[in-house]
Symmetry: C2
Subunit: 622 residues, 2 copies
């Protein structure tokens, strides 16, 4: 093991000096801990692509050079590829560890999220009835991140004794010693949250093994503060914050390599290779989200004389599907996460029917976002339902990291748009399209009525990938066209519900109801407008757009920020496809919303039936 | 005081029943605590608009009905207006408390942010040399939010003994009793973070006063767990989670009002008034961000033969302005916040020159975002510099709440776009425009070179409002036009740096450098394109657009998500102004970025000089 540690240090340092970029000091302080974890865990090159094995999360992803060097020691990767192509475009060996490298279970880089990912994997193991372990390895500087504390509490509440957390306790971060930068009683905090706190020498293999075995036997989730020395065995890099994030420089490099007994020609070979500027061949493995295997029940049908809210329609499908698949060994487990809003987001019945698969995370959204992402990566259909503001705005970056991980989790947002009731601007999620558009993998689904919600929910459960289902709060009408047995939801298609050549209205999700009422009123005035229901706002339906530009105007209607949602996407679709609307009018939200009933708020903000009619008339007059 | 408490309960309940919406149980458990805080604090209707007074933050903003009732007892507002217009459109008395109501210092609603806001106000008081107090009142259910713990640590590190935190400890949250929803050792956690933890009876005025006086004398920041009963004196609402977020209903309302000895006609009067549906007259006070009063030094000038990075140019202005105004009583104090990145974000020299005004918050971005927002609201020029990913993506919702508060803080983002170096996708903030566009108040400033950075930084320091300055990492060229003495930065103007009729390139910030090089190369081929430098991407420069559509194509160039940044904004500008580009090409980022040197990454993603030239040629051929 000690020889492996030396080799790993030589390789890691050569990667970094070759790239002239990276994080050597943390890599050096982490080497023995990494070697020990990978030696102990049931995670091998052979089973790295299976679900039933242990999971390892490296939260401080910047120790990537150390991680790759250690992974090579265990045969996960070819060390030459890593040393030569570290931090090069198209190489798997990125600056922060990514799941594409076998042996890495979570792409990291944004600090403080790793323990949450570990909790997600542990919950997925449990849901799959697999009795494995999860190791989460962290730096000490980010022990202050609030999300970490949230994850600790979920682990204890869920009794995840199979998680072992390890801290590389080198007491250095970028701006100096950790207790100068931000004092933090790390031991007291872990213990206050109910963890067992152990200490060991993070450079002593015997002590590491012994302490981890002790942790395995603990009746609580256990954290090990591994006392280390920043830059250990790195000469000038030892015990200073200076080499946190930069290469040592050639002189220091050679001094350290000599000290470690490494091959002094290695660096030149690497530099020669890099100078050739060939595209790296090894891209790592392909990471795909799972396609859930589930039994589905009959659709619920809402006849045109019923009035219900979309979130209830979602809740019914969730409960039905939950019950049909609960604890069925050949089916994908469904995990549902809540942040103290189950009665409002309609997951309370699922909780009753499938209690072991319902995880109450309390008011801890950051951690819940990551936990639910990692639970999906761990082989479950992972669904987190929350108000739009908390389930998205509060946790954008956590969802972004799940997307980078191609985790495939589902986020169900209720109370989006102005359809929040009286809670006011802090609760109005009028930016869900505008936020999610920034991520490349997520799909958004915004149903227009309960029947469409039923279909879309089933579609979302069936299909792989990160998806967001967004719904308002209020009871709404059934749209007859979606009650029709012939209707089948098709992702990306704008559904034409009215035809007319006087104009075309594109409405986002449930705002379709307002557009339809306006269109029907206008028809009485002999004004005939087309109405398109847009339930998949991220996709441009070119057929619909090409059709719509032939009418006298295009109008967009959304209870969403008018600059970043449907109007913006349609405008982009027009310009990029060289289509010209004769006139264009964007009806949406132009400022933070008011506090009042949803109907009143929409009316005051120009988004009522009357508002649409008035604008149509103006467009046709003008 | 006890009579006041009864009146307040009657008024609060009537507000809620009148609106048929609100949070009665928490309002009832909070009443005595609210009355005590407002009785003790040096915050009165007379000084509520001044800086030099105590601050009160109500973190659990949903107890708004209780807060308004108590504010009326102290003469801040007219009780009739509040009772009649609670939760009505255009009324100041929103569902969650807002700063527009005198006596409220921070608009809240998203839980867990209040202590951070209190820390911000306390730091602002200290920076203004004012020796006041800050009271932060919170619910118990949100004690689990990670951001809260981050704020605790900053308070202790900064020795903010003048903060008194109070918890309405009623042990109920939406989904039940708090220790069932999410176990959390509240006392141990506050103590582990270095606070003094006191307890008292939250319905007993004597105990409340005594305990708060004790807290005032503490040598540490002090939190008081005020033991209360959910829904206290609310009959059926007592000691249950059921009435967390809904009106009691008429029958319960009258039972409770009778018990409290209230006027049984009150509700009818309110309902009659509400039925008239008149627009509420009282909108509250106008909340404006401060315009900093500062002395400025001479501009730094970077001649065309120098090469530096924009962040260094920012750092120089910051240090210069800091030194000129440090501890000058007639100048606005400048507070600079850091999250363990000072050497990279170029605030380390400010720290040396103005040590008392530099706040190291550690790796605790959520709290830092809110602290810096509230510090601005508290009368300082508050500047938080961080990497784009951590200073924006991680804390979007915190910035949104600062915007709703019209706080006027400045966020300086470095390492934005693909200009991060080798750190890879988790560190590439390619969505900063796309995120900030969702907020209505924020301005974005993206300088193209060091001279423009110098001017923009000064402009940002001088002007009121929330602003984000975004810069890359690399050393870049000086653009001669910005070195010219005649150049003056003008917010919203796209600067035309090359003229040509073959096409028009709009480039975002420092990507202008690439556009210029491409244009100069193209000129050698007798292809003449206009180049517009867009440093204020949220503003459409209609003159520039109208000019550009006369050329053969419009191209946008940004190292930003191509769907949500400059291309999207320009496309919107075209469509909404009925302008048609003959051709349109958007060059930007189409997927998560690679890990490599910034130049390599841009090249691999089609954003190099060659990439631009190739696309121009194709547009002109096609």
């Amino acid at each position: 093991m000690e020889q492996a540690a030396t080799r790993a240090r030589i390789n890691a340092l050569t990667m970094i000096q070759g790239a002239n970029s990276g994080h050597p000091a943390g890599a050096f302080s982490s080497i023995e801990i990494l070697l020990t974890i990978y030696a102990l865990a049931n995670l091998t090159p052979e089973n790295a692509n299976d679900f039933n094995r242990d999971n390892i999360i490296i939260s401080h992803g910047h120790v990537s050079a150390g991680a790759y060097a250690v992974l090579a020691e265990f045969g996960f990767i070819d060390i030459n590829g890593a040393v030569k192509n570290f931090r090069r475009c198209h190489s798997a060996f990125q600056g922060h560890v990514v799941r594409e490298v076998p042996g890495i279970d979570w792409s990291t880089g944004n600090l403080g999220q790793g323990l949450s990912a570990g909790v997600g994997y542990a919950l997925a193991q449990r849901a799959r009835n697999y009795d494995g372990r999860v190791y989460v390895f962290m730096g000490d500087g980010a022990q202050t991140k609030g999300q970490l504390a949230e994850a600790r509490r979920v682990a204890v509440k869920e009794n995840l004794k199979n998680i072992t957390a390890l801290i590389d306790f080198n007491e250095h971060q970028i701006c100096g010693e950790i207790f100068d930068v931000m004092p933090c009683n790390i031991k007291a905090l872990w213990e206050a949250d109910g963890w067992e706190y152990l200490e060991c020498d993070g450079h002593d293999f015997k002590d590491l093994f012994k302490t981890i075995f002790k942790a395995h036997k603990s009746e609580k989730p256990c954290v090990i503060a591994c006392k280390t020395i920043m830059g250990k065995f790195g000469g000038v890099m030892e015990n200073t914050s200076e080499y946190h994030g930069k290469a040592p420089g050639e002189k220091n490099y050679y001094d350290i390599i000599k000290m470690l007994g490494g091959d002094e020609n290695l660096l030149n070979q690497v530099l020669e290779w890099r100078n050739k500027n060939l595209t790296p061949e090894y891209k790592g493995r392909d990471i795909k989200p799972i396609t859930p295997v589930l039994k589905f029940g009959e659709r619920f049908k809402y006849s045109p004389d019923t009035k219900t809210d979309n979130r209830s329609a979602f809740g019914k499908v969730l409960t039905q599907t939950g019950e049909l698949n609960y604890q069925q060994p050949d089916k994908t487990p469904i995990l549902v996460f809540d942040c103290d809003l189950a009665p409002s987001v309609m997951t309370a019945n699922f909780k009753k029917s499938c209690p072991k698969n319902f995880i109450q995370c309390g008011i801890q959204e950051h951690s819940t976002a990551t936990i639910s992402g990692a639970a999906a990566a761990g082989g479950t259909l992972s669904i987190w339902a929350d108000f739009g503001m908390f389930g998205l705005d509060e946790v954008y970056n956590q969802h972004r990291l799940s997307d980078i991980n191609n985790a495939g989790n589902k986020v169900v947002l209720t109370h989006v748009g102005l359809d929040v009731g009286e809670d006011g601007s802090t609760h109005q999620c009028i930016d869900y399209v505008g936020l999610i558009r920034n991520m490349f993998g997520w799909k958004i689904l915004v149903p227009a009525d309960p029947n469409q919600t039923d279909q879309i929910t089933r579609w979302m459960f069936k299909n792989p990938g990160c998806m967001c289902l967004a719904m308002g709060r209020s009871k709404i009408d059934v749209i007859p066209e979606f009650y029709d047995d012939a209707y089948e939801f098709e992702y990306g298609k704008a559904v034409k519900l009215r035809s007319g050549l006087d104009g075309a209205i594109f409405a986002l999700g449930y705002m379709t109801q307002t557009a339809l009422k306006a269109a029907d009123e206008l028809a009485k005035q002999n004004i005939f407008v087309s109405v398109y229901c847009v339930s998949c706002p991220l996709e441009i339906d070119l057929n619909a757009l090409s059709d719509a530009v032939n009418t006298k105007f295009i109008m967009t209607l959304e209870d969403h920020n008018v600059n970043t949602g449907l109007a913006s996407i349609i405008a982009n679709g027009l310009v990029r496809n060289n289509l010209h609307a004769k006139k264009f009018k964007a009806l949406g939200v132009n400022d933070y919303g008011l506090s009042g009933s949803s109907n009143e708020v929409r009316k005051c903000m120009g988004l009522s039936v009357e508002g649409v009619i008035e604008n149509v008339n103006e467009l046709l007059r003008g």
